[in-house]
């Protein structure tokens, strides 16, 4: 259904087969075709708009032993979205989609909050915070459950042969129920300060959440670019059957990709719950799947699978968070955010559509010839 429209020659961003002795084109022309150009221009534009409304945007200062400023705030808030979107990038590269990440965020948050729990005890006149389980164990369990959720999606897609959107729809519906079951329909509050470090802490003056996102990005880049894995994932996205015939273990890799996406959602769940010091099975990660897909597409990865860009996704996540901050800065009601997002999605998908560009070119040419 989703992939039925993938027509040969549609892969718009693929480099056109140029004649062999191509004349060297100027550097600016090559730069204009760079896949990261448009995401970067978009980000720069939004930042410029933001800076014109909020002169303090570029202001960074050192306060209480860490960096402080609007930009740091944007990066910090974009971190969970960037992590989810990075996982989503790989899923989309295999021509799939994972709409269950929001539910997995809620499950991981609920799991961690339940296992950390925390209470205040006074030992020898000193207040001591105790967690229910050791924190590393709680975090590992939450991440393991999240990865298992992702692997379940992967098995449904690669083994049972369900369409990705439907396979993950199942977990999206049931997962939110499961998260509510874990939390008993309540908001679970965490009373264990070490847990708050993940979402609110600073390391060497930089927010821990942003460092976690950076670490995920670096690890993924190393894994995908220093090994053939990235190539395999692209091959699966371009033609799963051909990839399998060519000897790529398409099923195993697909399952791993979905499991990794689940893991990323789990990490984001930890950051989100740590940031608000509680877990809400009902509202944690709501609409996160849509934001993540948006970040991936804005970043320049095509939803038709194949080529992907991790850097683009990170920029996409930053674009979305900057957009949100800008809307707040303008002073319009934050609800308008949704309309702006809708306009951005429409614009991006039209720009990605080969038919649209052809139409625009045709119209432009006609106008030119009339003159």
């Amino acid at each position: 259904m989703m992939t039925g429209r993938a027509i040969p020659g549609r892969r718009a961003n693929a480099p056109a087969p140029s004649p062999a002795p191509a004349p060297r084109e100027p550097a600016w022309q090559r730069a204009a075709r760079h896949p990261l150009l448009w995401p970067l221009v978009t980000l720069a534009l939004i930042l410029a708009v933001n800076a014109s409304l909020n002169p303090g945007l570029w202001h960074l200062e050192w306060r209480n032993g860490h960096l402080y400023g609007s930009l740091i705030d944007i990066v910090n808030r974009a971190a969970p979205l960037a992590i989810v979107a990075l996982g989503m990038t790989l899923v989309i590269a295999t021509r799939g989609i994972d709409i269950s990440v929001g539910a997995v965020v809620a499950i991981s948050a609920a799991m961690a909050a339940l296992m950390v729990g925390g209470q205040l005890q006074v030992v020898n006149g000193q207040p001591v915070y105790l967690s229910r389980f050791p924190m590393w164990f709680a975090l590992a369990s939450a991440l393991a459950v999240a990865a298992a959720c992702g692997a379940w999606n992967g098995v449904l897609v690669a083994r049972a042969g369900l369409q990705p959107i439907i396979a993950t729809l199942i977990l999206m519906v049931a997962g939110r129920g499961a998260a509510q079951l874990l939390t008993g329909g309540q908001i679970i509050t965490v009373y264990y300060p070490p847990y708050f470090v993940i979402g609110n802490g600073f390391f060497l003056g930089v927010p821990v959440a942003a460092l976690v996102a950076l670490a995920v990005w670096i690890v993924m880049s190393l894994l995908l670019e220093r090994s053939a894995l990235g190539l395999f994932i692209q091959a699966i996205g371009i033609n799963p059957r051909a990839a399998r015939v060519a000897g790529v273990r398409a099923r195993t890799i697909t399952i791993c990709v979905y499991a990794f996406c689940g893991l990323c959602a789990g990490i984001a769940g930890l950051i989100v719950s740590s940031n608000v010091k509680s877990a809400d099975g009902n509202n944690a990660g709501v609409l996160m799947e849509l934001d993540a897909i948006l970040a991936v597409t804005v970043g320049g990865t095509l939803l038709t699978g194949g080529r992907f860009t991790l850097a683009g996704t990170v920029i996409g996540a930053l674009i979305i968070q900057t957009l949100t901050s800008t809307i707040y800065a303008i002073g319009v009601p934050p609800e308008i955010n949704l309309v702006v997002k809708a306009v951005v999605v429409f614009a991006v998908m039209l720009l990605q559509s080969a038919e649209f560009r052809r139409t625009v070119r045709a119209v432009a040419l006609r106008k030119g010839s009339v003159r």
């Binding site: 999206m172 049931a174 308008i336 309309v339 999605v345 998908m349």
Partner: protein, 332 residues
């Protein structure tokens, strides 16, 4: 209906089991409820099922056409919310007559869907992403009107909302449920008795073949999304009667319930195979799960989602099995 069966089993393959399984499961659930809980077998319990799910039935019927044509429409829940919001704002704040407002919002829904269909067809965009953006847009427009809930006190709306048509034996049905049933009947006819319906099945089966056969693919695709938008707006009107308010947070996640109803009703998500009648079955099953959980009293509300997820899984796997047995293998 013979034409339907002929369409449904093109290669002589056994394509009926999903619908049969839905009906069997529905009957089994009714039987379970009847034996476990006293007072379950009353006409009113079943009428309430229709009354409480009238809007879902209408929305799911529209979704059935989209899925039969091989697409998906994620914007329906937001369009329902937008419809409640526009109706409430026009009636309460601007004192427009309901006789003007209702046709206006219905037309608005159809145009909204039509634009989505046009984008999808004209620029070969993915239905998932286009309707996702439509979902954001409609929800955002709700908040542009008002971020608060607008309750409706207009007499026509409240009268229709509270009207009950007696069916004898003390049982009664709401106007909304009657409209939903009428819509359902009309949809049955459109799907199985008109050229448009056959085109929808043909496009869902294989768009390229449909194009080569000379069917009006573009027009049908746009019309299917317009139909879904119209059904969502009609569902929104019924929802307005049901809730007597307009609110931007109304009907969140309704698109998932609608898709779930269609799938549980035995329609293949790859398009081309399914029955509108199955969707009624799916909607009733979703409602029945809630009714059973209410009757039980000890289970929490979130079990509803988990059970719906399990049912979705069961039906998707069943669909895969039947697809494999008929050796279609078209699905990429």
């Amino acid at each position: 209906m013979s034409a339907v069966l002929a369409l449904k089993a093109p290669g002589g393959g056994l394509r009926i089991p999903p619908v049969v399984a839905s009906v069997a499961l529905l009957l089994a659930m009714v039987a379970y409820g009847g034996t476990m809980y006293t007072g379950f077998f009353s006409a009113q319990v079943f009428l309430n099922l229709l009354i409480d799910n009238a809007f879902l039935l209408v929305v799911a019927v529209g979704m059935t056409f989209v899925i039969l044509a091989g697409g998906i429409d994620l914007s329906v829940g937001s369009v329902v919310a937008l419809t409640t919001m526009v109706s409430a704002a026009l009636v309460e704040h601007h004192h427009w007559a309901p006789a003007v407002v209702v046709p206006l919002v219905l037309a608005g829904g159809a145009v909204f869907g039509m634009l989505q269909g046009w984008l999808i067809h004209r620029f070969r965009l993915q239905p998932f992403i286009v309707t996702l953006a439509g979902m954001f847009l409609a929800r955002g427009l709700c908040y542009l009107i008002s971020i608060d809930s607008i309750s409706i006190t207009e007499p026509t709306f409240t009268t229709i909302a509270q009207a009950r048509v007696p069916l004898g034996g003390g049982a009664a049905i709401s106007v909304g449920a009657l409209i939903a049933l009428a819509t359902f009947g009309l949809a049955l006819f459109v799907a199985h008795g008109t050229a448009f319906g056959r085109n929808v099945y043909a496009i869902g089966g294989n768009e390229q073949s449909a194009l080569l056969m000379g069917l009006p693919v573009g027009r049908t695709v746009v019309a299917v999304y317009a139909l879904s938008g119209f059904c969502a707006a009609l569902g929104g009107v019924l929802f307005t009667f049901y809730m007597l308010s307009g609110y931007g947070l109304h009907a969140t996640g309704l698109e998932l319930d609608a898709i779930a109803s269609v799938v549980i009703g035995g329609t293949l998500l790859s398009g081309g195979v399914g029955l509108v009648g199955g969707t009624l079955c799916g909607v009733l099953m979703l409602g029945l799960i809630q009714t059973l959980i209410t009757f039980d009293g000890t289970l929490s509300a979130w079990w509803t989602r988990i059970v719906i997820g399990a049912l979705l899984l069961a039906f998707c796997l069943l669909q895969r099995l039947t697809q494999r047995s008929s050796a279609s293998g078209i699905d990429g």
